[in-house]
């Protein structure tokens, strides 16, 4: 069973605002689900490597290059920002 404090802590880590009611519900539901996940502890994983990918066996590398985009696409991306001034995206103060 996870505690109310743990639930609130996870929500904060996840940057997720939750109502008091949601905290209570998630505390219960997550506990039930995590109990079910305890099953995983029975699996014998000694000498097993962690899975990384299903079919590809090598890392894919490429040059880290900036590619020029049409001004129209750039404008569309900027326009998608909810809060902006001229061609800047506005962000509230951090502190």
């Amino acid at each position: 069973m996870i505690t109310k404090q743990e639930t609130e802590h996870i929500a904060k880590l996840a940057r997720l605002g939750l109502t008091k009611k949601e905290i209570g519900e998630f505390q219960k539901e997550l506990s039930v689900i995590l109990d079910y996940f305890e099953k995983l502890k029975k699996a014998d994983i000694s000498n097993v490597k962690a899975f990384s990918q299903s079919v590809l066996l090598e890392n894919v590398m490429r040059e880290d290059e900036a590619k020029k985009q049409d001004l129209e696409i750039v404008d569309r991306l900027i326009k998608a920002a909810p809060d902006r001034e001229k061609r800047y995206v506005k962000v509230k103060s951090v502190l």
């Binding site: 997720l16 109502t19 998630f26 995983l40 899975f51 299903s54 079919v55 909810p82 809060d83 509230k92």
Partner: protein, 480 residues
């Protein structure tokens, strides 16, 4: 002539023989959507203008006597987590309710090159998280076979649209069964390709090591056509791979070895479903295929392993919805007056995400948090290796694996929504395939009452053609 019950090839023949125009075909489906979709609620957006302008181009080509591809003019529906340039793409979430896609997903680019008609965007569980479409922020899609039942999920809108003849075929995405289970519930064909065979560029990410785009169609032939059009390596998705040419020796059913995993026929499975599946397997046996009992011993861990990994990846992928760059935002809300950046994050995500998405972000954040990472996430990745090895071992003895898609037929609306774990358990037969990155087909092979039952045909990596050929045998048998 009824234009809304055609296969791709039938529609293509009609177009090139000038029995009907692309415009008539498009209007036929748009009218059908107008009438039928009030009841089914499969579509979130109908792109009438786009479809008609595409149709005009095809009619011009045909008038000029130009050759057109088999997919040209074919009316298609697209799951709303796949981006279509200039069209709203919500992923079923309030947080993207007004989001207009600024570019085409690679699969859409490919389909547009083939000149398909895009009819619209279909409903889904929010961010593809769900097994019933009930987690959509916008609509409750109904199962065309029984309106009191769910269409399955998360690609429930796509499956329902195909099943109710509101389109010829559709695209879905499959992270843990999201193409196969709704295809099964609605009685249509669904293919989840091998991980990496279809580019995910422009698919709104849920769990990146599991997500895969694939077709939902009325027939195997249609499924093959759409699959061939969308597959292939893409520089914009570094996990995409070229489908290696598999030496396809002449396909003979007498040489086919079918594995049936004993762990998939267990207590708790609907006995009627079991009967239908077993009778389908019998039909293959009668045709000369060899049926071999196999074991996938780590099956019991698959569900927990899947939900640990998928929620972990989701918690990271969904961090991008911050109320700053795009989508719903509380930054300028008069009501809540965010004071600083943290307030914007917390309030935007509180208001923008639905409860299942929040639940999964919470689970994933927990699994990745300090102190639990080894016990949950890392352990799950090791169990995932074991599950993949199970399949590897099985495929040393058999060519394909047969099992049910779902332990039950479509369930009633609201039956499972209050119990998240019960809902998760409805994915029990489909998730292992995603964990192992394999291709799998959902094929309707019978009914219990009005409700269709799907056989799942699982193949080795890149063996899409073989599982489709195997499915075709049953389809041909039914048409005789």
């Amino acid at each position: 002539m009824n234009l809304t019950n055609l296969t791709i090839n039938q529609a293509h023949q009609g177009l090139i023989k000038k029995q009907f125009s692309a415009n008539e075909l498009a209007r036929g489906y748009l009218d059908k959507i107008k009438k039928k979709d009030k009841e089914i609620c499969a579509f979130l957006t109908v792109t009438e203008e786009l479809a008609l302008s595409q149709a005009k181009k095809i009619d011009d080509l045909i008038a000029k006597g130009k050759e057109i591809s088999v997919l040209a003019g074919i009316p298609l529906a697209i799951k709303d987590n796949i981006l279509v340039d200039g069209v709203k793409s919500t992923a079923g979430s309030k947080i993207l309710q007004d989001y207009i896609a600024p570019y085409d997903a690679t699969v859409i680019k490919k389909l547009k090159q083939e000149k398909v008609l895009i009819l619209g965007k279909t409903n889904l569980d929010e961010f593809a998280m769900g097994s019933s479409c009930e987690n959509s922020a916008f609509k409750l899609t109904k199962n065309p076979c029984d309106l009191s039942c769910v269409p399955g999920g998360s690609s429930g809108g796509s499956a329902a649209a195909v099943a109710s003849d509101e389109c010829i075929c559709a695209l879905g995405s499959d992270t843990g069964g999201s193409i196969r289970q709704p295809a099964c519930f609605c009685g249509v064909v669904g293919l989840k390709p091998t991980y990496g065979v279809v580019s995910r560029y422009g698919l709104i990410a849920f769990a990146s090591s599991l997500d895969q785009i694939g077709p939902i169609t009325k027939t195997i032939e249609d499924c093959q056509i759409v699959f061939d059009a969308i597959k292939g390596k893409d520089l914009l998705d570094s996990t995409s791979v070229e489908n290696p040419k598999i030496q396809n020796t002449e396909y003979k059913i007498q040489n086919l070895k079918i594995g049936v995993p004993k762990e998939y026929f267990i207590k708790g499975m609907d006995t009627e479903v079991e009967k239908v599946i077993k009778s389908a397997i019998k039909k293959y046996e009668k045709l000369g295929a060899k049926i071999i009992e196999i074991s996938l011993p780590h099956t019991e861990y698959a569900l927990a392993c899947y939900y640990m990994i998928s929620t972990s990846e989701a918690s990271a992928n969904l961090a991008r919805y911050d109320g700053i760059r795009y989508g719903y935002s509380e930054a300028k809300s008069e009501k809540r007056k965010a004071k600083n950046l943290l307030d914007v994050y917390l309030q935007t995500r509180e208001q923008g995400f639905g409860s299942e998405v929040k639940r999964r972000i919470m689970l994933g954040t927990y699994a990745l948090s300090a102190g639990y990472y080894d016990a949950y996430y890392k352990r799950s990745q090791k169990v995932r290796t074991l599950i993949q090895k199970d399949f590897e071992n099985a495929f040393k003895r058999v060519d394909v694996i047969f099992c049910p898609v779902s332990p039950t037929p479509a369930f009633k609306i609201a039956e499972k929504i209050a119990d998240p774990l019960k809902m998760y358990l409805s994915d029990i037969f489909t998730i292992s395939v995603n964990l192992a990155g394999l291709p799998a087909l959902s094929l309707p092979v019978g009914k219990v009452g009005n409700l269709p039952i799907g056989l799942q045909i699982i193949g080795k990596p890149f063996d899409e053609d073989k599982i489709l050929q195997t499915g075709l045998i049953f389809e041909n048998l039914c048409q005789k």
